[in-house]
Amino acid sequence: MKKLFTILALIAAILAIILSVLPISNLAFFPAIVSIIFGAVAYYLSKKTGEVKKVIQFIFLLTIMAMSITTYKAIFTETKVASTEALDATEIKLEEEAIEELEDLDIEDIEIDEADIEIDDSDIENITFEE
């Protein structure tokens, strides 16, 4: 039982460390919490039997590290967009190409004036239907 909790806590701690260095660092909180719970259980069980193994202290150290990295990144990392030069160039290129192509297209229906669509009520009012 003690061994099982130690292993689970260790796995969770390693997962927390891995997640904390990735861009999805915020998600490291989940395995970190799991690791603390399992670590605490393992610590409690070991204390009952007498000796507390070094590995449990190591698990706590890892978890604290993971949480520190995550918190630091959450506070100090700016979410910004960088290196969009290629995209900007594509935008300009595509627009130029599009205008060229649109010149050849038949877009006459766009010229329909709003006035043509509007209905003159007065004419219709004058119409009488014989039932």
């Binding site: 861009p23 989940f30 960088a82 969009t84 627009e95 599009a98 766009i110 009520d121």
Partner: protein, 255 residues
């Protein structure tokens, strides 16, 4: 007299539908796309929706442009630089030309649609890496639009007079295939956004392609309940957690 009034109502409703009172030609909307897992948010990409006027010798068109750019922290892992654009009629949003240029990691694809509304066809050109080019002409419905034009045309509906539960089907041409998108009006809701507290029209979106949008009633879009009807918040179901699209800034609005 009844017949005449019916005819009038019909004609007027056509005129109203064909007018664009919501989208200006200088609009810029910036969003943050993030991943939400049990309340913990991870920002992934910046999404912008921009419009500008494009003039040709014959006509003036509206260019609708959407870009998705991953934040710098993601660039080393998975860099996304996507561009979707559609050249449309400024009044009815009928599309004439569509471009999709996607750069995701090492994957590249460019897709161009040229609409021919007379023959009801779309000429498609697909370009991939190593200059692989595929041409194909596909038939479309008369009111089919590409994904960008569809997204903007949702804003032309008059939701203020729409009964709750109204469904609208939108034929969308995506990846050379016609799929059916559906929006359901779910009523008004007030939500807090980066641009202030907004009263919104809540819509549920679904599609006939199950792998595009998951679940039947788990994808929502909130449009501001004013004349502009700008999308302010979106929530999308993904296998684990939720995808979210939150507005960051809005400028150049029409009203």
């Amino acid at each position: 007299m009844l017949r005449i009034s019916l005819l009038l109502i019909l004609l007027f409703s056509i005129t109203i539908n064909s007018q664009n009172n919501a989208i200006s030609n200088t609009e810029k909307l910036v969003y943050t796309a993030s991943y939400n897992m049990s309340g913990i948010l991870t920002d992934i990409a910046a999404v912008t929706m921009e419009t500008n006027e494009v003039k040709t010798s014959k006509a003036t068109l509206l260019r609708l442009k959407c870009t998705a750019t991953t934040y710098s922290k993601w660039d080393n892992f998975f860099k996304i630089r996507d561009l979707y654009e559609s050249y449309v009629n400024p009044k009815s949003l009928t599309p004439y030309l569509y471009n999709r240029d996607i750069n995701e990691g090492s994957y590249y694809k460019n897709m161009k649609y040229t609409y021919n509304h007379k023959t009801k066809t779309v000429k498609t050109v697909e370009k991939k890496k190593n200059n692989l080019i595929k041409n194909k002409t596909v038939p479309i419905n008369s009111n089919s639009k590409d994904i960008v034009a569809t997204l903007y045309s949702i804003r032309l509906y008059d939701f203020s007079n729409m009964p709750v539960g109204t469904k609208k089907t939108l034929p969308i041409i995506f990846d050379r295939e016609e799929i059916k998108g559906q929006i359901t009006y779910l009523g008004k809701e007030t939500i807090t956004t980066a641009i202030g507290k907004k009263e919104c029209y809540k819509l549920a979106i679904a599609s006939s392609e199950t792998d595009v949008l998951q679940g039947k009633n788990s994808n929502f879009l909130w449009l501001s309940a004013d004349e502009n009807k700008i999308p302010v918040y979106g929530k999308f179901k993904i296998p684990v957690g939720n995808g979210e699209l939150k507005i960051k800034s809005a400028s150049g609005l029409k009203n």
